[in-house]
Symmetry: C2
Subunit: 155 residues, 2 copies
């Protein structure tokens, strides 16, 4: 339900999304726009992977506007579902992502970014957001913190 409500309140009017979509790579065939922002209410999951090491750093969401800006700027820009606005990764923390390559999946509804990560991708101060492993009925932290979140975002 939150998903739907959020999109009604998006900072990007539908008309703008449609206009920007025309700037995107249009079609690999006649039937499917790439990426296809007509799916998932216009919000597609985007995986950020370290271009050098292959480590999966995080997953966030993109709308057509954030995708277009990512392409233009070469810097990862997502759409924050909680804040309901564009999220230029690193604006608060300095932990930006420089985009080296962009891939789309077979259904054109998931994006994969290969990035050069500055600092910690995770707001908890870890290099990757996937710093916890599920082992049976336990959850174990398997990575070391790079930075204290309080030092990055303020206390």
């Amino acid at each position: 339900m939150a998903h739907i409500t959020m999109l009604n309140l998006t900072v990007t009017p539908n008309v703008s999304v449609v206009r920007r979509a025309k700037l995107l790579p249009s079609r690999v065939n006649d039937s499917m726009p790439i990426p296809d922002f007509s799916k998932n209410d216009g919000l597609l999951p985007a995986i950020a992977q370290d271009a050098a090491t292959g480590e999966v750093l995080m997953l966030a969401y993109m709308n057509a506007e954030s995708f277009a800006e990512t392409q233009r700027s070469g810097r990862a820009v997502y759409y924050s579902r909680s804040r309901q606005k564009l999220w230029r990764k690193g604006d608060d923390s300095g932990h930006t992502q420089h985009v080296k390559a962009i891939y789309v999946d077979c259904d054109a509804d998931t994006i994969l970014l290969k990035v050069e990560q500055v600092g910690a991708a995770c707001h908890e101060g870890y290099r990757s957001c996937f710093f916890r492993q599920v082992q049976g009925s336990d959850v174990v932290v398997t990575a070391e913190r790079l930075v204290e979140p309080g030092d990055v975002y303020g206390k």
Copy 2:
């Protein structure tokens, strides 16, 4: 909208999801179940990554039931949003995924599986679903097909 409709029609009654959720690793602190299937209408994105090479193979979705079965069986089981039922990866193709490790992200609403992939992860016959790169306004196929889809799924 499809997202909501699908969940109303899920093959797993709510009562079963709740019961199975008790089998899951419960909490890393007192406030957050891990993974947190109370988010995203009970359907969390799950990234499958090749445990040996680090290649990102695909993204699919899991509900509490598919996550619990994945843990029990050691084989990746997703929830198919289009078919609205559990999707035991490889049942049709033989291209199963043996799960080597399971991670959750900082918000406990994305899952990362490190898997041993049998054959092609992608129904298009590619090792990874991310076989297309977006280059400016072009979309370029950057991988080779391992198998012809017709040979795997029938013509």
